[in-house]
Amino acid sequence: MITREVPLIFTAGAPGRTGYMPPASDVQEESVDTLIPAAYLRDEAPPLPELSELEVVRHFINLSRLNHAVDVGFYPLGSCTMKYNPKVNEAAAALPGFARIHPYQPEESVQGALAMMWHLGRYLCEISGLHAASLQPAAGAQGELAGLMVIKAYHEAQGAGQQRREVIVPDSAHGTNPASAAMCGYKVITVPSDSQGGMDLEALQAAVGPATAGLMLTNPNTLGLFDANIVEIARIVHEAGGLLYYDGANANAILGISRPGEMGFDVVHFNLHKTFSTPHGGGGPGAGPIVVCKELEPFLPVPVVVKKADDTYALDYDRPQSVGRVRSFYGNFGVLVRAYTYIRRLGPDGLKQVSETAVLHANYLLSKLKPYFDLPYDRVCMHEFVLSGKRQKAKGVRTLDIAKRMLDFGIHAPTVYFPLIVDEALMIEPTETETLETLDAFVEVMTTIAREVEENPEVVKEAPHHTPVGRLDETRAARQPNLRWRPS
């Protein structure tokens, strides 16, 4: 990483420079104000940067060098599944036959694209043990919203829409779960976790009833623990007339081992940008396809890719019970190409090995780190686990400090302060793609920091020391918002 500040793009360059121009126009030019009434024209060109191509390239390459990334180093960010993003996926998505096709081309001119989507939908059905897929949602949170809409439409079709107004989420849930339920017009009922970190069955029993539309659950949950009561949980919710929504953010633990369908779930979303290796792009694009059971299929968003009797593929809009559209066109297609490539590359054995290795790696780290940090739930974990910085907090060092100190060692920090039910949480997800050497080096860093907390807490509290900038003042950013550059 470089440590030099990169000037804002707006302060570089010189008037009159440009980094790219289209070819000269080859049609007869007309005066613009004969084409567009003057009032509709822009008075003055927007004050965009004026830089040469090289200046722009250097600007962004230098910016890129200020980032940590999977291709730079270890990224054990819990819940985010920062696995390696295979390069062949990128090459596939960049093929002109995928990257350069228009969504409204005649269907017969995009049969390869539709075939890919149809098969990807089928694969996700098989992996989830459910029946029918929609690839439209653009990310996990939009998948949640779409899945809840499907649940709502189902209850409405049953004549119970007015009555079933509540969605239950555990207190360990990711923030998008309650936010999606609220956006879907539901009242959110939060139930506590039990002493083992699972769903509290008594609390659940008390929470369900005629107003229950559904339950949203992550399994393994956000503590990285598999909820062994899942079949019982499903029974309780179903008996109350509710449906079960599976937040697939943690699916990297279960590929080929356990399926939401058999666990009793009715709807799932997958985060293709987690489990299926598509890169996160510094915050997106992702894709959050949903898969549903047979009874819910009529309510999927339109259009749905179908295979016709003559083995050609088409977009089906004629679905009278559909919830409608959640996104324009057909979803984040380029992301779907990458996930499809990944599934075809790995096959059933490879996918199972992914989950087995992810879980093995997590348990290895857990057993190595257990002596040094508090472990609120001492159980076998799945693909990730949550430590607590309570012991270190007693010494005046917070989890935030530990996270910042890790940056000094060239490692991205784990997810911190999530789930909310663990004090000073550190959520660690190593993924299957890291080597044993990397895992051991991580253990070394964590134990070094634990020792520093005892012997030299200041070095942790003042961290990071070796990053492009030191600890940033977030309070100032929020109190005196400076959210854009302005021309002087």
């Binding site: 993003n85 915050g283 044993l436 959210l483």
Partner: protein, 446 residues
């Protein structure tokens, strides 16, 4: 398996450290009813070379825009993409980073978001922008929800000239919260101002108008704005960012929220995604903006730096009371826009916008001179898209054009039977005069 580095010997070492005999023991907590007993029924895995060859075969079954001259728009546009852009946005330090949760090691992503927000504000002439949402449609939906929350009113008016798929998404989002959407009809290709006035009751939270509209036409954005504000509603303008190189920006006609899809700014068509949606608002609405926002701050020694800020709006803090559920957005696609606008700059963007305008008008004139083709809305001014009425079967015409390696105008019957016989053509700077002439020649011989 080359993506999994763990050898058998290492597996054994790890199992011994954990204190279990086999990997299977780690899954012992999964009840047997929830265990999968047979392998997943999926095609067997294969080598990189094999999988790539398979993907190439699939890709070859699609008519791509390198081979076909595209005259289709309708929300996805074939613009030229600078080689330097493709190179920059493939940098793995951008591609393989997560959302910048640790700002000290994410300054590249964060500064680029800050620059993105600034560029969107400069283009739209608005006060503040967020870091992106999923697409133009969800930007409209989020803006509609924002308007309802701000005004505590429950109806959103959408111009018929708003992209039909955006209208559909807004409706899907709003009906979950029992909020109403009403379409303001069009007259001769632009909003019917009288109908708008009649519909602007005290129930109306906001009005969404696309400009240029879905049919390519310029809307009476100044008059609409006055009517919307007189009714105390929020004025939401959905715009094509490249058009703002020549057209007056939403800030000039007093829009409260500017939204749109950013595909045209350096993103490939990619069958409609991924692209990104942008959202920019007047200062007063800042606290209701959904999603990530980057802001400038300093570190302990006074060095400038950037962080994600105003996060109390967001789901991870506010949960069911958040402004939106959005978490992952479209950061890399927004980066394409930042790089695109930086490369083209002041002159380049103006040149591209002007060429779209000029070439579209050149093409429209030739096409309207053909027998059986005429402008559907003869009074309206347009930018790079125009709607033609045609006496031929448009799908059959497009089949014919495909044989000539041309992707023809968008048949609007796809969206509504009332639009049968209408085709929406788009001509960007990427089309050459000879391609336009070839289109005209083929259509002449129908």
């Amino acid at each position: 398996m080359s993506y999994i580095p763990t050898t058998d010997a290492e597996r054994q070492r790890m199992l011994a450290e954990i204190g279990v005999k086999s990997v299977d023991d780690l899954f012992a907590e999964i009840p047997s009813a929830a265990r999968l007993r047979q392998p997943l029924n999926l095609p067997a895995g294969c080598s990189e070379a094999e999988v790539f060859s398979h993907l190439k075969t699939l890709a070859a079954q699609n008519a791509d825009l390198d081979t076909y001259a595209c005259f289709m728009g309708g929300g996805v546009y074939d613009h030229l993409i600078p080689a330097a852009l493709t190179d920059i946005v493939s940098r793995n330090e951008f591609v393989t980073a997560y959302t910048p949760y640790q700002p000290e090691v994410s300054q590249g992503v964060l500064q680029s978001i800050y620059e993105f927000q600034s560029l969107i504000c400069l283009l739209t002439q608005m006060d503040v922008a967020n870091a992106s949402v999923y697409d133009g449609a969800s930007a409209c939906a989020e803006a509609a929800l924002l308007a309802c929350n701000q005004t505590r009113r429950g109806t959103i008016l959408m111009a018929e000239g708003l992209h039909p798929e955006y209208r559909a998404v807004v409706q899907t989002y709003l009906e979950q919260q029992d909020l109403k959407t009403v379409i303001v009809p069009m007259q001769n290709g632009t909003i019917n101002i009288e109908a708008l006035s009649d519909l602007l009751t005290s129930e109306v939270a906001g009005v969404i108008v696309q400009h240029p509209n879905f049919f390519g036409n310029l809307e009476a954005v100044y008059d609409i704005g006055k009517a919307v504000h007189a009714a105390g509603a929020i004025y939401i303008a959905c715009v094509d960012p490249i058009s703002l190189g020549v057209l007056a920006p939403p800030g000039a006609y007093d829009a409260d929220i500017a939204v749109g899809d950013g595909q045209s700014l350096g993103n490939q068509p990619s069958f409609g995604g991924p692209s990104f949606g942008f959202m920019a608002v007047k200062e007063a609405l800042l606290r209701r903006l959904p999603g990530r926002i980057a802001g400038e701050t300093i570190d302990h020694s006074g060095r400038r730096g950037f962080v994600l800020t105003l996060q109390t709006r967001e789901q991870h803090i506010r949960r069911e009371r958040a402004a939106s559920n959005i978490c992952t957005n479209q950061a890399l696609n927004a980066l394409c826009a930042t790089v695109y606008l930086s490369l083209l700059g002041k002159q380049g963007l103006a040149a591209v916008a002007n060429q779209c305008l000029q070439k579209a008008h050149y093409a429209q004139k030739q096409l309207c001179a053909l027998p059986g083709w005429r402008a559907a809305f003869s009074q309206a001014s347009f930018y790079q898209e125009f709607t033609l009425e045609c006496d031929h079967d448009i799908d059959a015409v497009n089949q014919r054009l495909l044989e000539h390696k041309i992707i023809g105008g968008l048949p609007l019957a796809r969206f509504d039977q009332r639009y049968a016989n209408l085709a929406l053509f788009c001509v960007t700077e990427a089309r050459t005069r000879s391609e336009i002439d070839r289109l005209v020649d083929v259509l002449r011989t129908l």
